[in-house]
Structure formats: structure tokens, C-alpha cells
Amino acid sequence: MNERWGTSRQLGRRDFMRYAGVMGLGASGLLAACQQAEQTPPAGSGSATPTHPPIEEEAGDLRIYEWLGYGDGSYGDDVLWREYKKAGYPKPKFIKTFEDDAGFTKVAAGERYDIVHPCAYRFEDWVNLQDAGGSPVMQPWDTSLVSNFARLNPALQGFGNFDGEQYFLVADWGFAAPMYRSDKIQPEDTWGVLFDERYRGRISWWDSLNMLITAAYLNGVPDPWAMSDAELEAQRDFLISKVPLVKTFWVDDPTPDLVNGDVDVAYAWQNHWWAAVGYGVPADGVPAVYMDPREGRTSWYCGFALFADTENYHHAHEYVDSWLSVPSAEWLVNNYAYGHTNTELDLSTVNQDLVQAFSLDDPSVLQEPKSHPERAIERRDVYNELWLEVKAAA
């Protein structure tokens, strides 16, 4: 099988994405071959700046492709854009997504919105996405229209900048790390807890190729996001050897299994931990620790991107500006325990357990070596295949 992954798949994700944008998904190889000849270079380089009509002339019927609970009001989260609401703009329409890959393929296949909120490991794919005519699907933001821009963490905004253009206004960030029931086990601070014989049958892994990356941290692979075939297969074999210890692969949330006592340790995001400990109210939760493993946590960040053909250019800027404001930051941090890029958030308004657990007072916490920022995986499909093999071998 090695040859197979090594050759035919090596073209990688980015090439695919360019073609996928042209073709729509599921198109036949023949058509693809015809169209490849007409490829134009990826977006971002010198596209003419179109003029946009003033905000009064826009319809304002924003369509936002967004994570559940990130503005649609499912959890009172419509306050995330309260400034926008206050200004009297019409309520946007939220199209909910649950998964990065599925969300991306939908747009690659031709769906269009005004705003989308992808996460970092797919940033490049979005920037490179082209429609059937070869023109870019996304366009950069005009940061001069975003009043909060100067208050945002510059390092994070740097991650959203491609070829000098701000394609992503990074809004939220967070970690991935092991979380454990401190009343049941007292492990050392290492990712190894997820692969430890002592916790056989009490472990939950995320159902994701990120488990290969976790294994890579532990096994000292230099670049977990760009592993060679040999490195990848070593991680796969390592995971297959450890999978008998694992009770569940979680898809949405490991918290119920941790709280119910079915597992004692899980791969987790920090909102899972915050839910497990009862949102800071001990009586509502269980004793749990969000680990800072010696190999480093993984960190992630997501940002808003703007569709090139939006007819609500100014509304889109206003909407995202309100999301990036201090009041929104305060709500996001206190309710979801995620980080927010607005550096002027007064940390005294935030639960101190959160400030401490996630070093919210340290702007460098999202950089190496304090944590490993999630990166694009060029050969994501290969990672996925190997992860599926791990699952099938369980």
C-alpha cells in the first residue's frame, strides 16, 4: 500500500483544491484534464480591487456559514454580534456547519455565502480556492473598515495574512490537550497518558487524524504536520498497538463519558474541560484537570473569511467587526472558554480559573514552544487513510 499512498496521492490537497474549485466535486478525470490546461495562478496576487457600493445600497441579507453556537443563537450566542444588531442591521442568516472538511467540500462544490469561519489548518486551501472561471472564491478584508483591528493580537492576525493580504480575521483560538479525572488518576503531565497501560479501558481518543500528530509528539517526530511515509506508518503502528487500551473514540464531545465515569482521561479541547468542571461551579461538575503536557499542547485558531462575490461587502465588515469587539470577547471567553484575539479584554471580567488554566494573560502562549499551532497538512488524505486503518484495527 505504501507505493499507492506514495505516488498517486502525493499531489496533495492543495492541487486538489484548485481543481475541485474548478470542477465541482465528483467530476470525472476526463473533464478535469480538459480544464487543467486553463488553470490560472492562485488568488492573492494582484487581483484588481473592485469598487463596492456604499453600505446604504447593499441589501444587508448576510449569509454566514458558521459553526453551531457561533452566532445563530442556539446558546444565547447571538450576543457575539450585538454591536451589529445595535446598529440596526438586519439579522444575518446562519447556515450551520459542524465539520471543517465537510464545510470546505461544500464550498468547493459550488455553494456560496458572504462569510465563512474556517480554522487555520485549512486557511491556505480557502485562499487557493477558485471557481469554474478560475477566479478566486475568497477575497481579502479591508482592515481599515474594521475598527477593532488594531486591538487584535498581531501574531494571530499574522497567521491570517497571505501575500500581504488579510484573508482571515482571526477571532477565536484554543488548545487541544489531555483532560483527566483528578479524583481517579494522577498521571504525569504528558500526552503519554492517552497511551498508558495503567489506564487500560479508561481512555477516550478523538476520532480524528490528529491522533497521529499526538503520537508524533510523543515519539519525537520533528514535523508532525508533514510526516514522511515511514514516520506516518510508524505512528499508525504505534496507535494500532495502543488502541486496545482505548474505550471510545469521541466525535462530538468526550465530556459525557468523562463525567459519567466511563473514561478517566480523554483528548480534549478546553471547552470540554470547562463543561466537565461545571463551568467553574464544582457542584455542577467533576474534579478534572486540563493538562499542560511536557511535549506541549496543540493550539488552534479560526478566523472569518470573505467571499469574493459578496454583495454585502460593508455589512460583512461591520458584522465581523462586532464579533471582534471587547464585549464579544468577554462573552466568548466566559461561556465557551475559548480564547479571543482582542487583546484589550479586561481579564478581571473573566473567571480566574480560565485565565490560569489557559494562560490568557500571556499573548505568546499560542507560539512555539509553548504550544504547537495547528498547521496545514499537505497530505491530509494520507493521514486520514492511516487513521481509518487504526480505527478499523481496533
Binding site: S8, G26, S28, G29, N260, N384, K391
Partner: protein, 303 residues
């Protein structure tokens, strides 16, 4: 529908026993069209993906049989998973039939006038959502669920040391699938037993056989077509099962259907996914043919 109506009339006016062809075709048109559009064409599309004629990524290798040969040679992890699923659904089908038989027997031959009320009662749980019924088992079987909590409080087990295999295991998947299928499967058995010619049983009694002997020599053999139908009725859908394993199976209860689902969603490898899906369709198709033949033969013998 409007187009077929005159043909139907024509068919009924025709006094000869042979059916008129236009009438039959008219009647068949809708179902055939339905099957073609929603079954045959999708199946062909899946077949196209499985050999690379169609592909999700234009960068993929083009037409090839690599995934077929890798899978059929057993070089991939998926063949082992297939056999595991076969074992699991065989176990489920056997247990279900063994449990459903007495149920069908009781309803058909013992319950008398109350049988339809009882039948209705058996079906009542199905008014609840499937997900809820499966998730309820987590409350019963969980590490701090009903059974383990009872064991703790009765002092039969140390708190914090639950019976681990109760939840997220092959056992759990088999248990829940049995629970789900028993009422369904009691039905074909019930129908077969209900249609038994009672004079046969009486003849057995008259000839001096006791009830046990009548059951083994008359009732049971005559009910075998129903048992076989019941077996197939459970076996076929459970081989492709993926919802139950994903809810209560944990890592060890994963089945073939889960692999197909993963390949089509997060895995984004539709070629292997299609190979596995088609293979499953083929296996199920062959099983249907065999069981259909078997059932018809049994009917000839008994009829």
C-alpha cells in the same frame, strides 16, 4: 399514474387468464422507474467510484482495480472487519431467533383472543425514537449506570471498579441489536405458526404423540420457513449496521458499516468506501438469492 389507469382497466376487462402486456408494463412502470432512479443508477455510480472511473479528487489515479484487489486479497484491515461484522450479526441473528420463537409461538398458539393486543404491546416501544432506545442502554450499562451502581451498593463490587465490558464493547452492540430486533422477528414466526393447519397437530395428538413430540415432529418443521425468513430478516440489515455500534460500541464494537461511513465522510476516500459498500451489497444479494430459493423449496415441500 393517470397514464396507467386505462391499461389497468384493459387488463381487468380482459377475461382471459393471461395478463395483457401493456397492462402489466403500465403497472410496473412506476416501481421499475423508482428502482432504476434510486437504486440501480446510484449503484452504478458507486461501482464507477470503486474502480476509479469516477473520482472525488481529480488528482486520483484514474481507472484502476487496486482497491478491489487489495481488499479481496485481504491486504487491508477491512476484510478482517468484515468477518468480525459477519460473526457479530450471525450471533445477533441466532440469539434473536431463539428469543423470538417462543414469543411468536405464545402469540400464535397460546395467547388466544388476546394475541393482537399483545402483539400491539410488543410494538409499542417502537413509538419511541430509535436513538433514544439505544441511548437508554448507556444509562443502564454505563460505568456508573443502573447495573454497576446496584453492584456497588450491594457490595458485590468495589465502587470505581465497574464491569468494563457492559458498555462500549461487542457485547453491548450485540445486546442492543438483539433488543431492537426481537419484536420485528417475532412477526414472521408468528405468521407462520398462525397459518399452521391445526388438524395436523390434532392428528399428531390422536396418533398418541405427547405435546413435546408433536412440537418437534410437526410444529417446528412446519415453522422452519418462518424461522429462516426471520433469520435473514435480522442478518441482512445488521451486517451493514453502523448507528448502534457508533453509539454503544466504543472502539471494540466497530463494524463494517462504520468503516464505510468513515471512508465516505471524514476519510474522503470514496474509492475504498465504494469497494466496501458494493461488496456488502453483493454479499447481501447472494444471501437473499440463497434464502429465497430455500424458502420457496420449503414452501413447496410443506405446501
Amino acid at each position: 399514474m393517470a397514464e396507467t389507469a386505462p391499461d389497468v382497466e384493459g387488463a381487468t376487462r380482459d377475461s382471459s387468464p393471461a395478463r395483457s402486456w401493456p397492462g402489466t408494463l403500465g403497472l410496473l412502470a412506476a416501481p421499475v422507474l423508482w428502482l432504476a432512479v434510486f437504486f440501480l443508477i446510484p449503484l452504478l455510480v458507486v461501482a464507477g467510484y470503486s474502480v476509479g472511473i469516477l473520482s472525488l479528487f481529480p488528482t486520483d489515479a484514474g481507472a484502476n482495480l487496486d482497491d478491489w484487489s487489495r481488499f479481496l486479497r485481504g491486504d487491508s484491515v477491512y476484510m478482517a472487519l468484515f468477518w468480525k461484522s459477519i460473526r457479530m450479526s450471525l450471533t445477533v441473528s441466532l440469539i434473536v431467533v431463539i428469543l423470538a420463537y417462543p414469543l411468536g409461538y405464545f402469540l400464535a398458539l397460546v395467547a388466544g383472543k388476546r394475541k393482537y393486543v399483545l402483539l400491539l404491546l410488543i410494538i409499542v416501544p417502537f413509538l419511541t425514537s430509535y436513538l433514544l432506545r439505544v441511548l437508554a442502554w448507556r444509562v443502564i450499562l454505563g460505568s456508573e449506570g443502573v447495573i454497576n451502581s446496584f453492584l456497588y451498593s450491594a457490595g458485590l463490587r468495589e465502587p470505581g471498579d465497574p464491569i468494563a465490558w457492559l458498555i462500549y464493547s461487542q457485547f453491548t452492540v450485540i445486546l442492543v441489536l438483539v433488543y431492537v430486533w426481537v419484536p420485528f422477528v417475532a412477526l414472521p414466526i408468528f405468521v407462520t405458526l398462525e397459518n399452521l393447519d391445526s388438524s395436523m397437530l390434532e392428528a399428531g395428538n390422536d396418533l398418541g404423540a405427547n405435546r413435546w413430540r408433536v412440537f418437534w415432529r410437526v410444529t417446528f418443521p412446519l415453522s422452519l420457513p418462518g424461522v429462516a425468513a426471520a433469520f435473514v430478516f435480522v442478518f441482512i440489515p445488521t451486517i451493514g449496521e453502523f448507528v448502534t455500534p457508533s453509539l454503544v460500541g466504543g472502539t471494540k464494537g466497530t463494524m463494517f458499516g462504520n468503516a464505510i461511513q468513515s471512508l465516505f465522510t471524514a476519510g474522503l476516500d470514496w474509492q475504498i468506501g465504494s469497494v466496501l459498500a458494493l461488496f456488502l451489497v453483493a454479499v447481501v444479494g447472494i444471501l437473499m438469492l440463497i434464502s429465497g430459493r430455500f424458502l420457496r423449496l420449503r414452501n413447496l415441500e410443506t405446501g
